[in-house]
Amino acid sequence: MKKNLKYSLILLSICAISTALLALTNAITAPVIERQGQASRLAGLEAVSMGYEAGAQKVVTDDPAVTFMIELKDDRRTAGYILGLKGAGYGGEMTLVASYNTAGEILRVQLLSHNETPGLGKKAENEGYMDKFEGTGAAQAVPTNKSMLNSEDAAAVSGSTVTFVAIGKALEAGSRYVIRLGGKR
């Protein structure tokens, strides 16, 4: 009994010191990480806004793949929407922002965060990776499996099928969401 108590106290003291060190590290790093996240998000939104005037951000709760929506205006007329999207990649949740015209066609896509495997799913960060999705969603279906791609694009996603499908399905859900909006807020 006495020995067990001693062991428990030793473990407790190690855990307490570890917790204090982690709290200190978190206090130093959390504001820096928060600032980086906001900067990355702003850069992502700017990259997909296509030069249109962006309205206020609205939280979306009625679609599991869409997290927020921003209306894009062209001289007071609704030109499209920016949607915050999420998908289930190989390494967990992936977040992306995409702009759509009012017909649900994808204009630009930007990957914001992910935990995909380096050398495989992480290829989604590469310049030009999102080209295969842009221009789809209205007349042309959003590619959600490799058989919908040409041989060059299919080779580019080789080894990262789960990541590609996750992005494709999230973008397809976004396109459906925009079509449901029907050009209205």
Binding site: K6, Y7, I10, L11, I14, C15, S18, L21, L22, T25, N26, I28, T29, V32, I33, Q36, G91, N115, E116, T117, P118, G119, L120, K122, S158, G159
Partner: protein
């Protein structure tokens, strides 16, 4: 100071090719040289401090609770490394992805704590950690260099000033052996390198 504790991890007891520890991250992150360097820095930090702390506490931690105590120490160091990299080296943090938190279960860290730091002085444990980390870094970087050159035709380092950080290898950049960038390529290369090093060791032994 026993300098052998420092040098043994580099060749004689190399953690990757001789002791065969920590192979999962070696195979996983060795797709780019920059990933290998980032992972090596993370392992050096965690291994050095875990060996120092565990060696300093070796008479304080009873045998019957040493595993949970070591795991708490190692997990805390890995979390500190992860938070610091996320805040101050975001590119490396993003590149390492899931492999950074997985340092917690890297056999090299717990293996050296158990086999060396728990029975030796703080100085010897620090030297052992540095030697093992250098051995790990050299092995991982060698595998990453071969895989990236053959599998992508590039050598990815870190961008400095006008240097983008990517060196392209003529011909291979347009005609890469893609299998080398995938998991089977990592296993094949590991097997060939291990066989080559064993052959060299047998020849030397006569």
């Amino acid at each position: 100071m026993n300098i052998k504790e420092l040098t043994k991890g580099i060749f004689k007891e190399n953690p990757v090719f001789i002791i065969m520890l920590g192979l999962c991250p070696v195979l996983g992150v060795s797709t780019q040289v920059s990933n290998a360097i980032g992972m090596s820095a993370g392992v050096l930090f965690v291994l050095l401090f875990s060996n120092i702390i565990i060696s300093a506490l070796r008479n304080f931690i009873p045998d019957s609770i040493h595993i949970p105590a070591y795991i708490v120490i190692i997990a805390s160091l890995v979390t500190i490394t992860e938070l610091m990299m996320h805040a101050f080296a975001p590119a490396v943090y993003a590149a390492l992805g899931v492999y950074l938190p997985l340092i917690v279960v890297n056999c090299i860290i717990l293996g050296r704590a158990e086999a060396f730091a728990s029975n030796n002085t703080v100085l010897d444990s620090a030297l052992d950690a540095i030697g093992m980390a250098i051995g790990f870094a050299l092995s991982l970087t060698l595998i990453a260099l071969i895989r990236e050159v053959l599998g992508a035709g590039t050598i990815t380092l870190f961008p400095v000033g006008s240097f983008s950080g990517v060196i392209e290898v003529p011909w291979l950049v347009d005609n890469p052996f893609k299998v080398m960038a995938l998991a089977p390529g990592a296993l094949l290369l590991m097997g060939f390198l291990k066989a080559f090093l064993d052959w060299k060791a047998m020849r030397k032994a006569g």
